[in-house]
Amino acid sequence: MTIEKLSDAITELDSDILDRYFIMKQSLDEKKNPRKRTLVKWASLAACLCLIITAGIIILPYIVEPPLEGPYTYYYVGDIVESSLGTVTFENNNTSEGKCTFILEKKTNDPICFAFRGYTILREYIDKDGVALQEVQQYHIITPYGNYKEAANNHIVVDDKLIITVNGENVDTIPMDCGTYEITIDYSQLYDMLDGIRPAVEVIGFKKFVSFVFGDDGIER
């Protein structure tokens, strides 16, 4: 054996040994360079935080029950509400008949709609703590309003269960033009459709979210 033969043999070391060597070398380099590791660690944390924030921004609207904009404000029979849309007066409500009446003074041509919220019970069950719970499907039942269908998220939107009367005449939708309108909404079909109805009707528009409350017994407040 010569030194040259030995050197040539070392050149032909099996590749798994070299692989093991380079993996160990990389590990040693990383230990030697804590600043690089720290930078990588903080960069990873920052990336995770951005991801969480972005996910929250995207997902949160689907978790929180949406108004289209702004908080709910509750009004009762006899209340008058002013907004950039105009003025809405809650004239009366008869829960047993399933009808409510509003006076709408429209100042703009912006579309608005009236929306009811309700639910059907999909199943009832007992959770691990012994609490009786219901799994429900939620609904928005609205006077026809294109944008609202897209904003309804996990609620099923229905726009043909309300019978709308404007100034004594049946119509398909709330008028767009400026003007004063007496609007009666017959929501009696919801009693057959749903297992429960929230005791409020919402007036939805671009500018403001208004919710008019009516009790089960239809008593004015």
């Binding site: 054996m1 030995l6 050149t11 099996d14 040994i17 060597y21 040693l28 030697k32």
Partner: protein
């Protein structure tokens, strides 16, 4: 510019090898970005001349281009290291005929010379590859630290100071380990029938 280069994200070995298989010359560029510094270091450890090291590097890229495919190395660094070591040793031997070269490679080899007999005692029947297998089996059996020292010293031809710095230990510790590795290699070769 060097700082910018270091901060560039490098492609994975798998993707670079795919480029070779697609005969995309971007493979060479990506190989250069990822491994140039290491390959030059290895070559220079042997030939001790930067111009010769650059030529070895170019020969290595050609060798890789001609070998992949059919080869499909998993760890590209190991594959390239083998090519450039061969190339650099050939260049070293060619230069040696003309002049004496002092390099870490010759120093590391001289450490092994003390248990290698003269050329006249060479076992003619043992081929280089068989010897490589025997040595590989020995190195494979070493603990990580000693394996690392062996490859660093006798394959990469790193200096003892460099190895001690990488392992975070003293030079004297590395020297003691090298002595132990040499003694173990000698016993292993003798047990495999080599007359030393």
């Amino acid at each position: 510019m060097e700082l910018q280069r270091k901060q560039t994200a490098t492609m994975s070995d798998e993707k670079i090898v795919d480029l070779y298989w697609q005969r995309d010359e971007q493979a060479i560029k990506e190989t250069d970005i990822k491994y140039k510094r290491f390959l030059l270091l290895l070559a220079n450890n042997i030939v001790h001349d930067m111009c010769d090291s650059e030529e070895c590097l170019n020969d290595t890229y050609i060798g890789a281009w001609n070998s992949i495919p059919p080869a499909r190395p998993v760890l590209l660094q190991s594959f390239l290291a083998t090519i450039i070591r061969r190339t650099a040793i050939n260049r070293f031997n060619a230069n040696k005929r003309q002049k004496r070269i002092v390099s870490e490679y010759t120093v590391s080899l001289s450490e092994l010379e003390d248990f290698i007999a003269d050329e006249g005692d060479m076992n003619a029947e043992m081929e280089t590859k068989e010897l490589a297998k025997v040595i590989s089996n020995y190195v494979r059996s070493l603990p990580d630290r000693q394996m690392y020292i062996f490859v660093s010293r006798y394959y990469i031809a790193d200096s003892i100071a460099t190895i001690s710095n990488e392992l975070g230990c003293s030079v004297s510790t590395v020297k003691r380990e090298i002595t132990s590795i040499k003694n173990g290699l000698k016993k292993h070769l003798e047990s495999e029938g080599y007359v030393l």
